[in-house]
């Protein structure tokens, strides 16, 4: 048996719906159509009344989920593309993220964001918004990089009592495969050592983990042993695991697909610089997408985002510092 990242997300939702009558799915075209990416395919048939097509209204979709969460239900909202969640930004950051702090009433909802670039998808279907949501207190931001994590972290997202921004990478949907779904999982909030090394640490998350691993393969042929840390969730951010890795290697490159100004990579570099200065043999570096909207043409897009090649180049520069 082989299961894709997308199928893992569907299976996690099916299991959440089956295990807990409080769970329901709400979003555009999630019903009979099964979602723009088919992440909810056949779920409406299996769970009638609990997989519901919404009018095109990201703001109202999210407010609706907040209301249902106040009542003790566990809504899963599908944003058709992460980009469209900017329409719901108010409800996410002002309503969902502040509810527990203001009232002591928890707000258990999951907003699924199909995010990140794919070839030809352009400025409005490619954005990586984990940085923006991680900036706001009151939200948990998950960025699974593997099929196993996509499954187990989505189940944990549904189980916890707080609003979760679940960033699932569109590029991983169909290509990433695993033999089976996990029965045990690392808890959210813990980073994973994706590859052991000696000469440098690359910290990455989501699709960038795979670019980092490919870069590490390339550098291994040149004699460098690169350690790769997969953050898994960007909020909370597991500083301890990052710091322990940097203590072993003395060098840090942090790679993210979102834009360079501020953000997750800046946060990792700032923490390591502030708390691990003495561990570093060279200035900590980061690599992000270019500071422009995401381009449409595949040639431009491939140059816009970090890839195994640009990660390896950045790593080589850092190894020589």
């Amino acid at each position: 048996m082989s299961i894709t990242y997308l199928e893992a997300i569907r299976e996690a939702q099916a299991r959440a719906l089956a295990d807990d009558p409080r769970v329901f799915i709400y979003g555009e075209d999630v019903g009979k159509f099964g979602g723009a990416f088919k992440a909810t395919k056949n779920l409406q048939e299996q769970f009638p009344g609990r997989v519901i097509d919404a009018p095109i209204s990201e703001d109202a979709i999210t407010g609706f989920a907040v209301g249902a969460a106040i009542e003790g239900l566990r809504p899963i909202v599908e944003m058709q593309f992460a980009d469209f969640s900017t329409v719901a930004f108010n409800q996410i950051v002002n309503q969902a993220a502040t509810l527990y702090w203001r009232t002591n009433v928890p707000c258990p909802l999951v907003v699924r964001l199909p995010f990140g670039g794919t070839s030809g998808s352009g400025p409005f279907h490619s954005q990586s918004l984990e940085t923006i949501y991680a900036h706001y207190p009151g939200l948990v931001v998950m960025t699974p990089a593997t099929v196993e994590d996509a499954y187990s972290m989505l189940l944990e997202a549904v189980a916890i009592d707080d609003p979760v921004i679940f960033c699932e990478h569109k590029l991983l949907y169909y290509h990433l495969k695993a033999d089976k779904l996990p029965t045990e999982a690392m808890p959210v909030g813990k980073a994973r050592l994706a590859r052991e090394g000696r000469d440098m640490t690359i910290v990455a998350y989501s699709a960038m983990v795979h670019e980092a691993l490919a870069a590490a393969d390339e550098l291994a042929t040149e004699g460098w042993l690169i350690e790769v840390v997969d953050l898994r969730s960007v909020k909370p951010l597991d500083t301890d695991t990052v710091m322990a890795s940097v203590a072993r290697t003395g060098r840090l490159l942090c790679v993210g697909e979102s834009w360079p100004w501020g953000g997750v990579t800046a946060e990792v570099v700032a923490r390591v610089a502030a708390e691990g200065w003495g561990l570093l043999d060279a200035p900590p570096q980061r690599l992000n997408a270019k500071d422009t909207p995401v381009p449409y043409h595949p040639n431009l897009w491939a140059a816009h985002r970090p890839t195994a090649r640009s990660v390896a180049q950045a790593a080589r520069r850092l190894l020589c510092m």
């Binding site: 407010g63 003790g72 527990y100 009151g138 909020k235």
Partner: protein
């Protein structure tokens, strides 16, 4: 209405005395419409008031002390010093705490109503309030359209108080009447004189009853005038005298006049009611003023409830 007016007069006076940390926003002139909502909703219903709905809140059952504690920032209040004034609520009791972004509460009420329906709980109504300014927002459109599509028992109350902060109706909307919105969403609507208590009670009562019967979302537009500035910091000097002449009746005064004319109350009885309200408010304010302030060093500074996911790294 009277208790609401007395309480807000006290809060305004505390504001002028510098005893309140943020702003004070009162519902002077809107009490009749607001109280009609609170009186027609039952325990178990849902209410998402807007900033001028003290009267509706009290009628729905919000304790006076919740308002005073929130305005004064008492740690014993429902918002535990974390949020102030009109943003208070008790979501677990069906009183939703508003955010400042107008129209945002509509879809939240929809979500609560949907959750009740999914759980098989019927016979529930959710009401929410806005001013004329709030009807210009995308959230208003999305929320009302959503309620209409889902056929939810939502009662949308719009107090057309002529000014959104300082912006008059003719810079806010270009339709003939805000009642036209009902047509656009395929829902039922009525328009009334919001300074007439009987008209308010009948219209809101009818809308609540129709929603409870399963006739879907209901819209009620009340024409009135905000008899004050946007908040206590604002003298409302932009209010046009012609608008004042047309809509500026004080609903509390007209209600009291009606009670006297119909012989349902005497002047002495009204005076006694006012004195009781003043006494109640003074006692509660004195109590809350003794409750002290929050201690930042004892405060739980975590914004999420899942303790295992608290960011340990709060300061670099």
């Amino acid at each position: 209405m009277l208790l609401s007016r007395v309480l807000e007069e006290k809060l305004a006076s505390l504001y002028r005395a510098g005893k309140i940390h943020g702003g004070v926003f009162v519902g002077r002139g809107q009490e009749a419409f607001s109280v009609a909502a609170g009186l027609h909703l039952r325990k178990g219903d849902v209410f998402a008031p807007s900033i001028r709905d003290m009267a509706g809140r009290l009628a729905f059952g919000e304790p006076v002390i919740d308002a005073v504690r929130t305005y004064l920032g008492s740690p014993l209040g429902p918002m535990r010093s974390r949020d102030g004034n009109v943003h208070r609520g008790r979501p677990q009791d069906g009183l939703l705490p508003m955010i400042s972004h107008l129209g945002s509460m509509i879809s939240v009420v929809n979500g609560v109503l949907f959750a009740r329906r999914l759980r098989g709980i019927t016979d529930v109504v959710g009401a929410t309030c806005l001013g004329d300014g709030g009807t210009s927002t995308g959230a208003f459109h999305e929320g009302l359209n959503q309620a209409a599509v889902e056929k939810l028992p939502l009662v949308m109350l719009i107090a057309n108080n002529r000014y959104a902060y300082s912006t008059p109706n003719d810079r806010q909307f270009a339709c003939r009447s805000l009642l036209d919105k009902a047509v656009g969403y395929g829902i039922e609507g009525v328009e009334i004189d919001g300074t007439d208590l009987i008209a308010c009670l009948q219209a809101v009562g009818g809308a609540v009853a129709r929603a409870r019967e399963g006739r879907g979302p209901q819209l009620v537009v009340a024409n009135l005038l905000r008899l004050c500035g946007h908040g206590e910091h604002d003298d409302g000097s932009y209010i046009d005298s012609r608008v004042k002449a047309q809509h500026g009746r004080d609903c509390l005064k007209t209600s009291e006049d009606m009670l006297l004319q119909e012989g349902w109350m005497t002047a002495a009885g009204l005076e006694e009611l006012r004195n009781e309200a003043v006494q109640q408010v003074e006692t509660i304010v004195a109590t809350v003023q003794r409750e002290g302030a929050p201690d930042p060093f004892q405060h739980d500074w975590n914004a999420i409830s899942s303790a295992h996911l608290h960011e340990l790294h709060t300061e670099a």
